[in-house]
């Protein structure tokens, strides 16, 4: 797909950027990497959220798709999952922006202390 600034508004909505089947693309970079601890943690958390239907698989996907082309292109696969989970939980009032923001400060301080 040509990039967002070149596309008509209707097309940007009707044909969202994650829906790539048949789009022109180059060769496949046949590479893989061992998941980092963050990535495994994120995957495991999202699986647990799906089991409890707190963030089901379709909600997670929809949350990622709604981020739009620019953010989808800049964030890694699991960074997108993390943000999607935060947003869907927020929508449901299960984890508010205020709660998450405060807890992130606590966690950041603790992890910083652990690294020292």
């Amino acid at each position: 797909m040509s990039s967002a600034p070149d596309r008509e508004p209707a097309h940007l909505i009707a044909h969202p950027p994650h829906d790539v089947g048949g789009q022109p693309e180059g060769p496949v970079n046949i590479s893989d990497h061992e998941l980092t601890p963050f990535e495994k943690h994120c995957h495991a958390l999202l699986d647990v959220l799906a089991t409890h239907k707190l963030v089901n698989t379709e909600e997670k996907r929809r949350g990622v798709e709604d981020m739009g082309e620019v953010i989808i292109g800049r964030l890694t696969y699991y960074q997108r999952w993390a943000v999607s989970a935060a947003k869907v939980l927020n929508e449901k009032g299960l984890v508010t922006t205020q709660e998450l923001g405060r807890k992130m400060i606590d966690v950041r301080a603790r992890l910083t202390a652990e690294e020292q």
Partner: protein, 94 residues
């Protein structure tokens, strides 16, 4: 339990384009093929995406499409096919 379509039925995949979370890829909208397999009923993913976790069970099918009719410039062989899963509300008789 009888499903609306049976194996071998010729079907068209609807050409609808509203915003939302859809599991029918853009590249097959409006395409015609036939039912390859009748699967089970599953919750509608378009509703699940907005938190509806019950009550939307919808028949799912596998549809087979001919690659040469799907892509104007298909460079493979005439018998090549593509198969994917389509929910009943995305199918019309063809």
């Amino acid at each position: 339990m009888i499903s609306r379509y049976a194996i071998g039925d010729r079907v068209r995949i609807s050409a609808r384009y509203a915003p939302g979370h859809v599991r029918t890829p853009f590249y097959v909208r409006g395409a015609t093929g036939h039912i390859e397999r009748v699967l089970d009923k599953f919750l509608d993913p378009e509703r699940e995406a907005y938190g509806v976790n019950a009550g939307t069970e919808t028949q799912l099918y596998r549809v087979r499409l001919n690659q040469s009719t799907l892509w104007p410039d298909y460079s493979g062989e005439p018998a090549d096919v593509l198969e994917l899963e389509i929910f009943e509300h995305w199918l019309e008789p063809a």
